[in-house]
Structures are given as structure tokens and as C-alpha cells.
Amino acid sequence: MEKQLFGGVAGGESTAQPGVPNRNIKPRTLATSGSKQDSVETLDSPTGSHVEWCKQLIAATISSQISSVPADTASGDCKPPRDGTKQVQTDEVPLVPGEAIKAVAKDVMYICPFTGLVTGTLTSTNYKLYFISLERDTPFILDVNLGAISRLETISVQSHGENTRGMEIVCKDMRSPRFAYKEDASQPEIVEVLAKHTFPLSNDLPLFAFLYKEEFPVDGWKVYDPMAEYKRQGLPNESWTISKMNSNYEVCDTYPALVVIPTSIEDDDLKRVVAFRARHRIPVLSWIHPESQATIVRSSQPLVGPSDRRCKEDERYLQTIMDANAQSHKLTIFDARQSSMADNNKAKDGGYESESFYPNVELNFLEIPNIHVMRESLRKLKEVVYPSIDEAHWHSAVDQTHWLEYIRLLLTGAVRIADKLESGKTSVMVHCSDGWDRTTQLTSLAMLMLDSHYRTLRGFQVLLEKEWISFGHKFAARVGHGDENHANSERSPLFIQFIDCVWQMNRQFPAAFEFNELFLITILDHLYSCLFGTFLYDSEQERVAKEVQTKTVSLWSYINSQPEDFTNPFYVDYEHHVLYPLASVRHLELWTGYYVRWNPRMRPQMPVHQNLKELLFLRAELQRKVEELEREASSSRGSLSSSSEHTSSPSHSGGTPLHTIV
């Protein structure tokens, strides 16, 4: 029992949960690695160094020529198989419905940075890359979703008269597994097959989500109903209306069909406002405070331009937004950008609201750098965490990536927004340049702080569907689904940054969120995996055109079919409490459970969550027992002898259910 317990947790942090009844899908699996180090040399080589890589490759070839890699017999050093002992040792590739094997290569060496060389079989399906080695006591499995691959690189090394090929798979999820294999004319070139299915869009193939045939008992596409969500917020009301003006996506092609705008706005005026906002992303309501009626409004930058253009209608529009909230005579605009950049944007016909043209408007810059800075920051972070960690300079290395500083900036911005609404009772408008990156991060974080509904498992899904997906965060461009152009400057880890912020909040308020870390990691994994349709495409319009809802499965179908796996056992409903995370670097921490999870040493040592789950189970068990006894006691009221009989029998079976805990 204990064995399984531990194994389940070790894997559970980042794998699909084992023990899901009757369900053999494992959307993600983690590399279960044995642990003995056969070759220490591979340990400390930084990824990316070409020379190092060649050396590794040669070392790999040589070791393969010394024939059998010394078998590691220390069975005690191996991890118990994740799924208990039932697992049969085969190299069969588990497939999800709709998945097909496309190429198999035998005698491939995986150069594991943590445990040394392993030889096994590499399989490419149209969904994943699957490496399995049976040379150790427990099967060694490495499993990478093709969607998570950013680029494939190969090199050839001539060694001892044979051509050895090296393949590096640079992933978006902070790892870069490397393989070595001998070139063999008889085998189909696995790299080509891999490349073809890794970048389906570049090869005229459909994304795997359109091939995935799994059926779930719950339909995740029903999670978000904009009308229901606005109704929950108390909309429409006398000041705000749910408008269908964009129902054909003609007004703004990156906005959803339904938007909430002020009631008293004339159509003609609206047209002018539409023309005055970048990409026609006019100010629309995201959230309304249930008491003060202060609102969070999001938009894109105004097209002020170098000549300080004005738009009377836009000015009036903001005035209307301000008037909708009787509690305050101000409107605060948070421009997420750095002020210098906002000025630069003016030269390019963009800009920001001038306080002198917009009466009662207060403009603040949140000084958050742009997507390119964020991309670079995450790239540096990967260098710090993978494959090896320089522990002596760990903190300064993390510091130099600035990743946590940006997290801090985002949280600070969101706290300021939330505080403005909560304490200042003032409506807030948020924008950056286009209003789909930083704006989305900020509004959704602020909403998470203000509204406890979004901190539930379902509520968070609604938040993502609404603020991110329907309002046109460019997932396809930022993630680069199925596209081989890894150097595309449109790519940026903004969504990851947001989830990281959520995780930081989760850490600071461990009891305030209904979902757990696994939920967040699962979301990020399927951001890349292309297994589900949830994060595909850039806008609602595109999703409708591609019939995503009918042709693909929603991630929420999977999540909500097994919600217990993603539920935080510590959850306490904070109800209407506003959560202000502390935006101090002292309280921020690198999310090792996500960024450093490939390092086997970073696995958690003690499963508190597991402990608590056990405790909850025990409580349920006891509750059941007590109820049962009460029932029995009441039914056999009267005779003393029979009651004593009753008490003895349950104690007989009392111990057993506990042992079934896994």
C-alpha cells in the first residue's frame, strides 16, 4: 500500500493520474526514469553547446560499441512502476483513440541528462514521441507530445566508420531530450516522420485535436456560456447591455460575438469609437463589482498618433463608463506598457489617452515589458533549470532571467487594479497596445483576486474561456501550434506567465483555490499538446470557422470528467474575500514543480496533499460508519444483547476499507 501510495504521488505531480477507471488515455506522461547514473559525464553539459553535444554523441557511440551497457542490477534503486505491479514489461506503445504509429526506430540511445544512456525503441505517432527501454529493471519511458516540440535538430557524427545521427528535440516545456542512433538505410528516417507530424500545419496535415476520438462523459464546451456568466455578474443592468453588434465578427474580428457595452451609446458614436481603437478593440466590460458597480473594462490603445488626434465619441464613451458607477467620479486607466514604449507607439499611430482630453481620467503606466522581453526571459530560465542546476548560484541565476521580476510586475499591476475597484470603488480601464496580451493577463488576474467564483475549478475554466480565449489572446501565434517556424517573433510565453502568477497566488493562499497545482500543470501541458481544441486558434471567429467545438474535444471535458484529481484538498471557500497576493520578490518563488519537473531530484519528498486526501478519506469512512451505526442502533432499539452484537460486527470489517486507499 505504501509503495503504491508513494509511486502514485511521485508520478502524480506531473503525469496524468493513474488509476482513472476505464480510461486508458494518458494525455501526458512523464519520463519515469531509473536512477542509477551510468555515465556521469553527460550530467553537467549545458544544453545548446554544440561541442558538448558532439562529445556526448561520440561518447554514446563508443559506449554502444563496448556492447552491452552494464546492466544495472541494483533493483532497490529503481522506481516502482507508476501503475503498480500490474504493468507488463512490453514495449507496446499506448495509444489514445485516433492516434496511429507512424515510424519506429530500434536501438536508439536516449542521452538522459539525469540517469545516463539508455537504449531502446523510439516510436513516432501522429501525436507523440515515445521512447521505451526495457534494459533496466523497470521500463524506462520518455514521452513527449509532438505539440510540445519547438524544433528538431539533427547532427551527424562520423565515428569508427559509422555514421551516427544525433537528434535534439527542443521542447516548449523546458526540456530538450537528445537521442543518438545509427544511420540505417533500411529504416525509414524517423526524423522526417517526426518533423512531418510535429509541424502538421507546415505539412498540410490537420492538428491532432481533429483526429482525437476520445469520448468523455462531460462536455467541456458547455463550461462557458457568455450569457450565463454575464447574468451571474448581474448583467445586463440599467447602465450596461449585452450587445450583439459583433455577432458576425464584423465590428471586431478578434472580439467575441457577445460584448458588454454601455447602454446609452449611439450606434454612430460607437462606429467612431471602433475606428479610434487599435484593431477595433473598443472598451468593453470584463467584470462588474457586485456592490459598488465599479467595472473592469478592457480595450486596445487609442489611435492617437503623433498629432495627438482626438475622438470626441471615445472621450464621451469613457465618460459614460465612468458615469455607470455612481460611487466614483473618476476613471482610472491602467496602461500596461512601459511609458516610454507607449510614447513610441504614438509615433506609430497608437498612443494613450491624454488626461487633458479625457476629463476625470487618471492614467497609470504599469511598466510591463513586451512579449519579446518575456520570451527572452523564459529562454534564459530554461538555460538555468535544464538540464542541470548550478546550486551555488541558483538564486542569482534565477534573478538574472528576470522571470520573477516580471511575475512581480504583473501581480503588482493586478493588485493595483483590484485595489482601485475594491477600496477606491472606481472603475478601471486596462489596455496595452492591442489589448490581447498584457491586458488579458491583468484583467484575468484582477478578476481572480476580486471574485471567488473564478477560484473554483469551474470558475477558473470560465475565466480562461472568457478573458483569454473569447477575447482573442492569440494562442496560435503565441504558442505556434503545429508550425515549424520556431524563430517566429510572435511566439511568447504570456499564458505561461499568467498561469505562473496564478500558481504564485495559489502558494500564497493555499486554501483559497479549489484547483490544485496538477490542474495548472495540466492546462499548460495541453496548451502545447494539441490534443484538445481549447487553446487552438487566435480568435472566436476562427474557432467558429474551423468548427472547433464540433470537431475537437475540450480540455475541460477531460478535466471535469475526473475533477477529484484536480481538486485542492485544502480548499476553504473564502467567499467574498478579496485576495491580495503579496507582490514582493520575497514571497515569489520559482515554480519548480513546472519548470524543473524533468529533474528527478526535484520530485516532492513528502506528499502532504496525499496525506490530507487520506485524512479526508478517513473522515468520509468514519462518517459512513457512524451513520451506519446510528441507523442500526435506531433500528434495533430496545434489546441490549442485539446492540452489542451490532457493535462488534462493524468493527470486524472496520479496518478493511482503509487499506484500499491508494
Binding site: E376, D390, E391, A512, S584
Partner: protein
């Protein structure tokens, strides 16, 4: 006011600190009836001087707001009693100080932040005092409104009593003892003589002040050594404890011959029979012979193997540690909000620069190495250290808390605790100043608050034998904390050792034969007695060339970082099922060693997470635990039991009750050190000025690029 009164001798704003006040406890004066401005004085506590209408600043930034009240200096503490309604949070704060030998420490700046180190105050007094406490609290008082005479007196009083060197007798502990009478017969200097075990003794923390205690502990670990009581009057050596345990092979002659120098003292025995010993480092040159004899004696303890660890070679020195800690603690002595946010920006680099966490890691790593020898190699280990530095860390690591109580070396200790993957804590003790023979019963008194924290979390570390804490020393928590507070010391998730489990445990533990650790292959066959003597010369030669500690380490471990052998050991351990009562190893990788926020940040107002922090989880667990216990009681009434060795079996409902009374929503991350009754919803927001400062210049030209690679056509 901030500029005017500056005195000429002003040093730099951040002087190097000599030492700090040791504050003890948070006293709350809650009775509204209290008219005279006196805190509740402890028995033996005397007020030296006081001043009224002193302004105590709130921690808030430059606002200069504060609370008026009386500032008192007693022989125990500096205390502030607010004039205002005692419901105010302010009232709770009373700095306490222990004006003892090592605590010439109160720090004070005048307006120009002049460091006061004692001695130099004449008739002057500053308008503002800043007190930095050893537990990292910072207090600011203004004397401007007080009567001049009072102000002068209180200032000089504080300086005198806190900063001037004093004799040991002046430690408050002594006056306190003399004036308290506890049923248990509380402290006099009774540890000097062997006080007979009292009736309640068995329920108390083992104090290791009697032969029985030592024998008992040896039995517990199945050690087989000899208790030495010859030093009970410090006849052998004043530097050795009164009681200690040596290997059986140490003869009486050995004991007396070198005044106890180089004696290997038993600390703990592994279940395989090998033991952990410690010794002060041995003067190799003159007395090599002693060393060999002692080494032999240790080796004889179990299977003739021994490994030595010379800590002075491999671990930082006391000076290094002190230097590092002094840098480190500066990060937490924060005067105001601006300073806080300024320091926040360079937080991570500062952390690395001060090297504190690295020291913690080195210490832990050394401990893991020692454990590896014991556990994997089943080799006896002899720890040598000039200052017995770090030993406690290692020992503690192995033994659990009771051994902190070895009355030998602990004097001024810094206690740390690294949260490993959030849960698995390892306490590390670093001994700073060693006065091995100080027979002060209140050994740990000065650090009570920190210990409190320790213990409140310590319970997470599943050591088995932690007794109820009610001795006359600091372990007698009831002296300071009521039962409710004491309930916070226990970890609700702690699992008791299951009774029948021992057999199971043994079965999976590989009982493989120890691999020989000595280099000579001749050792491979367990030699007869006396073999060591024959080989002594040989051994000595080897010793002369290389210190023994190098032998064990695999060749690749020369790197200062985690040696690969430790790495392997850890990984092997990691793959095994976790046994809370078996071996626990800390993870030593960079991300796992973290700052102990609960201790260091607890007084900093700006860093409190309202409604968050670990207490939220704690309260939830306690709540469920309470329910489980309630249900179990219910079941008991029906006369049936669910047999489980789960934590629920322990009567800890009180904990639940305490915390559940205050919903976690209302608690802050600094709980229980700061309870925030006047709940403010104002979040801490870093000033925007700082932000722009921070961002500019680091993003480079990427920041100037346009977000979307620019397609101007769509900008209309």
C-alpha cells in the same frame, strides 16, 4: 526632525553589528483596567527606569505616526505600554532583552543613525531610538515628547543594561529562578549537581543530566558504549560535559592522561551497530598517538571500520558563518516601507551574495554524507571539529530533538530550518559560540521565539521520541505560553510510529555487509583484536599525509558542490517508499534550500499575506482532524474502532479548536506572531517609481520592439 539633531560621530547608515538584543516574548497587556503603566512583571523582574509620553512609531513609512505610551527598562526587557485602548495591536509589543553576557546588543541610532555600542553615552540623548532586536524586530521610539530627565534616564538605562558587558550572574535567568517556585522545583543551578530524577520526570523532556538519561538513550538506539561520569565535577576537563559516553575500548587511563583531549564521544548508534562519535579536533602533531588510539577505540565499536570527518576542513568557519549571518540578517532589519521595497528588488542576488543558504546547504550536505556512511556503509563515523562546529547539526539530523538538550555546547545558537519541498523540514543547528561548560539552565532562553517557531513546525519532522515539553528550561513552555499557544507547536499531520511496523521496516532495509572504508585491503577480513595496534603505524602514516575525511569520498567529489556520491545516495533513497520513521534526507539542490520565511519575515509588516500563508493549510488540516477525532469518539461510544495508525488517533482536538476559532481567512502569514485584528484591506503595492527604476535598462532593445512584428496596415 529627521535631519537636525545629527551627531557628528555618525558612521555609515549600515554599521556592522556587534550583536543584538535578545528579545524573549511577546507580552500582551490586555486588561483594560490597568492604569499604572507597568507590564506584567515576571517574578524577579525589576523596573530600572521608565519614561512616559514616548512615541512609538508604526512601521508605516515616513508618516511619523505612532502611539504614545510609556517606555520601561527592566532587568529583563525593554517594554512599551501604550496609553491608548489596549485593544490596539501596538500594546502587545514589549521588547524584551536579556542583558547577559553575550548581549551587549541593543542598537540605537540617533537621527543620523548613529550606532550605539555602549559606553559612549554621557548626557546626551537622541530624539529617536531605533532598536534592532536579535529576533529581527525593529522598533522606533521618539523621545521628543518625553520629559528631558526621563528621556535621558531611559536612554542611558537602556544603553547601560543592554549594551554594557555584564557578568553572567546578571542574566535575568538567575533572578528569575530565585524568585519563582514551580511545583517541579524549577531551576536553580541544579544541573551542576546531579539532581535526582523527580516524580514527574518521565513526562518531561530528557535533559541528559543524569546517567540514567544517557543510558536510556543509548539503550534506545541499541548502542553499546560506556557512560563516563568521572567528569561530574569537571575534574577531567572543564571543557567537557559532566557526563558523556565513549567507546568501550577507551580505558580509564585514556580518559585521564590527556585531560580528556581528543576523546571520541558517542552521539548516536545506527541500528546496524555502527555509531556516530564526535571529538574536538585533535592536535595531530604532538599527540598522534592519542588519535590513533581513539580511532581504534571507535573502530572497535562496530566491525572495525571508521571514517573521520574533519569539519574544520570541509565546512565554513565560525567567522564565515558569523559574517554571512550578519549580512543575511540585514535583509530583515527593515526600518520602513521604502527600504523594504528597495531591498526587494535585489532580493535574490543579495541572498546568493551573503552565502547564508549555501552554508545551510553545506551543513546539510555534510550531515547527509555522515548519514550515508552510517546507513549505507555501516561505518562508524568520528566527527572532528575544532569548535565542535556544526556537530550539533549533524547530530540533530540523526537524532531528533532530544539531543539538542545535551547540555554541553549549545550556547548561542542560530536555528534554521529548511523547508524541503514545502514539507520535509530539516532543522539545522549551527553553534555559534561554544562555551562547553556553561552550566546555565536557561541555555536556550534567549532564543525562545525562534525556537517556538522551530517547534511549531518541527513536529512535521517525524522524529519519534519527542517528549511533552515541560521541563524547567525553555522546554517548559508553560512558563511562557498558555496551552492554546502550545497547541500550535504540534503538527497535525504528524504520523505516529506504527507499533508493528518495525519488522516490516527491517525487511526491506538491505542488511548488506558493510564495505570497508579504510584503504588497506587487509582490512577486508574482520581482524582480530589488536590488529589495529599492529597497523597503527601504517595508519598513522596515511593519516599524516591525508586527512581521513578524504578517504571515503569518491574521486569525483572534489568539487565543492554536491558530491556525486551524496547525489546517488539521495536518489537511491528517493526511489524507495517514504518511511516517515525511517531515514529522511533533505534535498540539497538549489531550489530546495529556501529562506525560512516564517522566522525571518514574521515581523515585517509589509510582507504579511493577509488571509494566506501556511497557517491556512494548517487550520484546514486541524479542522478535518478535529472532525475525524469527533467521529472517532462517536465510534468509540458504539464500542468499535477503526484501527488505523493515522494521525487522527492522537488527541489533538485542541489544536483544531484553537485555529478553527479564527478562520484562516482572518489570519495572516505571520500568524501567530502577528495577529491582525484591525484588518486592513489595503494591499501592499510597491511604489511605481521603483518599478520603473527596475525595469529600465534591463530589457535591452527587445523592449523597444513592437509587439507584433508590426503590421501597420491593421492599425486603422
Amino acid at each position: 526632525m529627521l535631519s537636525s539633531l545629527g551627531s557628528a560621530a555618525g558612521k555609515s547608515a549600515k554599521p556592522s553589528f556587534v550583536s543584538y538584543v535578545t528579545p524573549e516574548e511577546i507580552k500582551s497587556e490586555k486588561e483594560p483596567s490597568r492604569k499604572e503603566k507597568h507590564p506584567d512583571l515576571l517574578p524577579g523582574e525589576v523596573v530600572f527606569c521608565s519614561a512616559s509620553t514616548v512615541l512609538k512609531y508604526t512601521q508605516d513609512d515616513l508618516s511619523q505616526r505612532g502611539v504614545f505610551g510609556a517606555l520601561l527598562c527592566t532587568n529583563f526587557r525593554v517594554s512599551f505600554v501604550s496609553d491608548e485602548a489596549p485593544t490596539e495591536e501596538m500594546v502587545r509589543t514589549a521588547v524584551t532583552l536579556n542583558n547577559g553576557q553575550f548581549d551587549r546588543s541593543l542598537h540605537r541610532y540617533e537621527d543620523k543613525k548613529k550606532l550605539i555600542t555602549g559606553g559612549l553615552v554621557k548626557n546626551k540623548y537622541p530624539s529617536k531610538i531605533i532598536i534592532h532586536c536579535k529576533d529581527l524586530r525593529v522598533f522606533q521610539f521618539s523621545l521628543t515628547f518625553a520629559k528631558e530627565e526621563d528621556a535621558k534616564k531611559i536612554f542611558q538605562g537602556i544603553v547601560h543594561h543592554c549594551l554594557e558587558p555584564k557578568s553572567l550572574r546578571c542574566l535575568f535567568a538567575f533572578s528569575y529562578c530565585e524568585n519563582t517556585s514551580y511545583p517541579e522545583g524549577i531551576g536553580n543551578d541544579s544541573t551542576l549537581c546531579f539532581s535526582p530524577p523527580e516524580v514527574q520526570r518521565k513526562k518531561q523532556t530528557v535533559m541528559f543530566d543524569s546517567v540514567e538519561d544517557w543510558t536510556q538513550d543509548m539503550k534506545r538506539t541499541k548502542g553499546n558504549c560506556r557512560v563516563v561520569s568521572e567528569n561530574s565535577n569537571f575534574e577531567l576537563s572543564p571543557k567537557l560535559p559532566q557526563l558523556f559516553i565513549v567507546p568501550t575500548n577507551v580505558s580509564d587511563e585514556d580518559l585521564t592522561k590527556y585531560q580528556g583531549k581528543g576523546l571520541p564521544m558517542w552521539c548516536w548508534s545506527h541500528h546496524s551497530g555502527c555509531g556516530l562519535f564526535k571529538t574536538a579536533s585533535i592536535p595531530l602533531v604532538q599527540e598522534d598517538n592519542v588519535f590513533c588510539r581513539m580511532l581504534t577505540a571507535v573502530a572497535h565499536n562496530h566491525l572495525y571500520s571508521v571514517k573521520t570527518e574533519d569539519l574544520s576542513d570541509t565546512l565554513p568557519t565560525v567567522q564565515d558563518i558569523q559574517l554571512s549571518y550578519n549580512k543575511f540578517k540585514q535583509f530583515f532589519l527593515i526600518d520602513n516601507t521604502t527600504e523594504f521595497w528597495m531591498s526587494d528588488m535585489k532580493w535574490f542576488s543579495s541572498l546568493d551574495n551573503c552565502g547564508w543558504l549555501d552554508i545551510i546547504r553545506q551543513c546539510l550536505q555534510k550531515a547527509v554524507e555522515v548519514v550515508e556512511c552510517l546507513e549505507k556503509e555501516n561505518t562508524n563515523v568520528l566527527i572532528m571539529g575544532k569548535d565542535q562546529l556544526f556537530e550539533e547539526g549533524c547530530i540533530l539530523f540523526d537524532k531528533g530533538w532530544p539531543h539538542i538538550l545535551c547540555p554541553d555546547i549549545l550556547f548561542d545558537i542560530y536555528i534554521f530550518f529548511t523547508l524541503l519541498e514545502n514539507v520535509c523540514p530539516t532543522m539545522t543547528l549551527v553553534t555559534e559560540v561554544n562555551s562547553p561548560y556553561q552550566p546555565v539552565p536557561y541555555t536556550l532562553y534567549p532564543h525562545t521565539p525562534s525556537l517556538t517557531v522551530c517547534l511549531s513546525w518541527q513536529a512535521e519532522s517525524p522524529y519519534t521520541q519527542r517528549g511533552p515539553l515541560n521541563c524547567l528550561t525553555v522546554w517548559d513552555w508553560s512558563v511562557q505560553f498558555d496551552c492554546k499557544a502550545q497547541d500550535l507547536f504540534t503538527n497535525p499531520l504528524y504520523t505516529e510510529k506504527p507499533k508493528q511496523d518495525t519488522s516490516v521496516r527491517k525487511s526491506y532495509r538491505p542488511k548488506h555487509l558493510r564495505q570497508l572504508s579504510l584503504p588497506s585491503s587487509a582490512f577486508k577480513t574482520p581482524p582480530k583484536k589488536g590488529f589495529f595496534k599492529d597497523e597503527a603505524d601504517n595508519l598513522k602514516k596515511i593519516l599524516g599525509v591525508k586527512r581521513l575525511s578524504r578517504w571515503m569520498l569518491s574521486p569525483s567529489s572534489d568539487s565543492p558542490q554536491t558530491s556525486s556520491s551524496v547525489r546517488e545516495f539521495y536518489e537511491a533513497w528517493q526511489t524507495k517508499p517514504l518511511d516517515y520513521h525511517g531515514l529522511l534526507l533533505p534535498c540539497l539542490d538549489g531550489p530546495s534550500i529556501r529562506v525560512w520565511m516564517q522566522r525571518y519575515l514574521r515581523w515585517i509588516h509589509d510582507v504579511q499575506i493577509l488571509g494566506g500563508g501556511p497557517v491556512a493549510v494548517l487550520s484546514k488540516i486541524s479542522e478535518i482532524l478535529g472532525e475525524v477525532q469527533e467521529l472517532q469518539r462517536e465510534l468509540d461510544r458504539y464500542g468499535c474502532t477503526l484501527t488505523s495508525n493515522h494521525k487522527g488517533a492522537r488527541p489533538r482536538a485542541k489544536t483544531a479548536a484553537v485555529i478553527a476559532a479564527r478562520s484562516s481567512v482572518r489570519l495572516s502569514s505571520s500568524f501567530p506572531f502577528v495577529t491582525s485584528r484591525n484588518w486592513s484591506f489595503k494591499p501592499a503595492i510597491p511604489t511605481s517609481l521603483l518599478q520603473s527604476l527596475m525595469v529600465t535598462g534591463m530589457a535591452g532593445n527587445l523592449a523597444n520592439r513592437e509587439d507584433d512584428g508590426g503590421d501597420p496596415e491593421s492599425l486603422v
